[in-house]
Amino acid sequence: MEFSTEMKYVLDSFWLLISGCLVMWMAAGFAMLEAGLVRTKNTTAILTKNITLYALACVAYYYVGYNLMYGNGNDFVGSGLMMYGTSADGHSLISDFFFQVVFVATAASIVSGTVAERIKFWPFMGFILVLTAVIYPIQGHWSWGGTSLGGMIDGFSDFAGSTIVHSVGGWAALAGVLLLGARKGKFGADGSIHPIPGSNLPLATLGTFVLWLGWFGFNGGSQLALGSKDDVDAISAVIANTNIAACAGALAAMVLTQLLYKKVDLTMVLNGALSGLVAITAGPDYPSMNLAILIGAIGGLLVVLAIPLFDKLKIDDPVGALSVHLVNGIWGTLAVGIFNPDVALFAQIKGIVVIGAFTFLSSLAVWAVLKYTVGIRVSEEEEYNGMDVSEFGLHAYPEFVERQGA
């Protein structure tokens, strides 16, 4: 029995709205995860960045980004799309906008973790503005905007955004951290690596679980429709696969850290779950659950190996965002080419390379302009005193420090 057009409109739009709400909730997850993995003296800073970048991303995408991502324009960039009325697929356009805008905010929030504890606030916001208004939307135009860059990335398949969202955030973060440098004290002059432990593992764990829940909207909503049996079947598979990929990633990280370090590392298990989620994001609809487990597990293994590798390369990533989002964004996209018979591996590789190159190079240019004009890194003294007191005049944990009386 098929639904009437109006019923389909209602159900499809409803699903986009609810899923969008879940993806918005991921902003809370990122905030908690990052707050838990930085030091107390930098906690206000990271929290402020998380809420303001979410807010800026949505506004920038509304005024500019959405119009560069959609609409007929040319192959490279869009020319604007109506935000109200009915979409071509028969659902509310504004519910579509809402669903899209929270994805942009997700990509932007990936950047804040990697540059944490030493980035200057206002230049960081400047970068986020360009990322969400221009860089993300342009590459999104080639995939979800439908132009495949004039055929260059034909056949590229990224269901919910392993490349388009996660690795884009990762490339932007990588470009930033290469110009920013490591935190003081992280790497010794003799090449030694000094851990800088996170201040609040309960928050980091809470953040991971919040992200996990939000991801059901991130992937589930990317079906973009609820109004038919086929759609619901697809969504069900997507959500079940998403969940089990996260589980597999967590378990893989648990086992590998036990083997490598003789101890299970909570922070790696958390990153492992997230890696499974990122990895399944490119294709949560086609695999069997067995395959989803495999894809997620490989994601968990990759993150455990990638984190110390970035340290060896002297790239200081306080929250492991590059290992989770960039490395597994790439892996998840490749996995679709490997395991989905309808998608060519070469098409995936092309998409990864084209989108990656564009994102990395344009991000690098923006970071460079910021660095060589206003500077992107706080002074040494500010870094030692902590960004909370230096940049924000607001301790996250004032009673630990110097609040008098009361």
């Binding site: 004290g185 030692y384 005049g393 607001l394 420090v401 110097e402 609040r403 008098q404």
Partner: protein, 112 residues
């Protein structure tokens, strides 16, 4: 036997610790303290209202050494903990009446 108590800027702890290790120092007790001296506090704003922040976080290092080692320890701490800016801290030297190692019962210099 003397006890050396140094109040230093927290980020200098690793440098001081390594400097002391280089001259053969084997142990220390460290605590996180807050205080102020000539280095005044500052005013902050919280939701529109001003408040005074008097106490600055510092790190206190306590070491007990034999008399011969005192000079080199003082020199090392002074050198490693100095930034030249206000708030570098102070070092105090006290006499120690007795030391006992709990595990073995050794006393005096043998317990160092």
């Amino acid at each position: 036997m003397k006890k050396i108590e140094a109040i230093i800027k927290p980020f200098k702890l690793d440098e001081v610790k390594e400097g002391l290790a280089e001259i053969g120092n084997v142990g220390m007790t460290v605590s996180e303290v807050k205080g102020f001296g000539h280095q005044k506090g500052h005013t902050e704003l919280y939701r529109g209202a001003e408040y005074e922040v008097d106490f600055i976080p510092k790190t206190k290092i306590e070491i007990v050494v034999s008399d011969e080692k005192v000079a080199s320890v003082l020199e090392t701490i002074e050198q490693k903990a100095k930034t030249g800016k206000i708030g570098d801290g102070k070092i105090f030297v006290y006499d120690v009446a007795q030391i006992i190692r709990i595990r073995t019962g050794q006393t005096g210099n043998e317990a160092l």
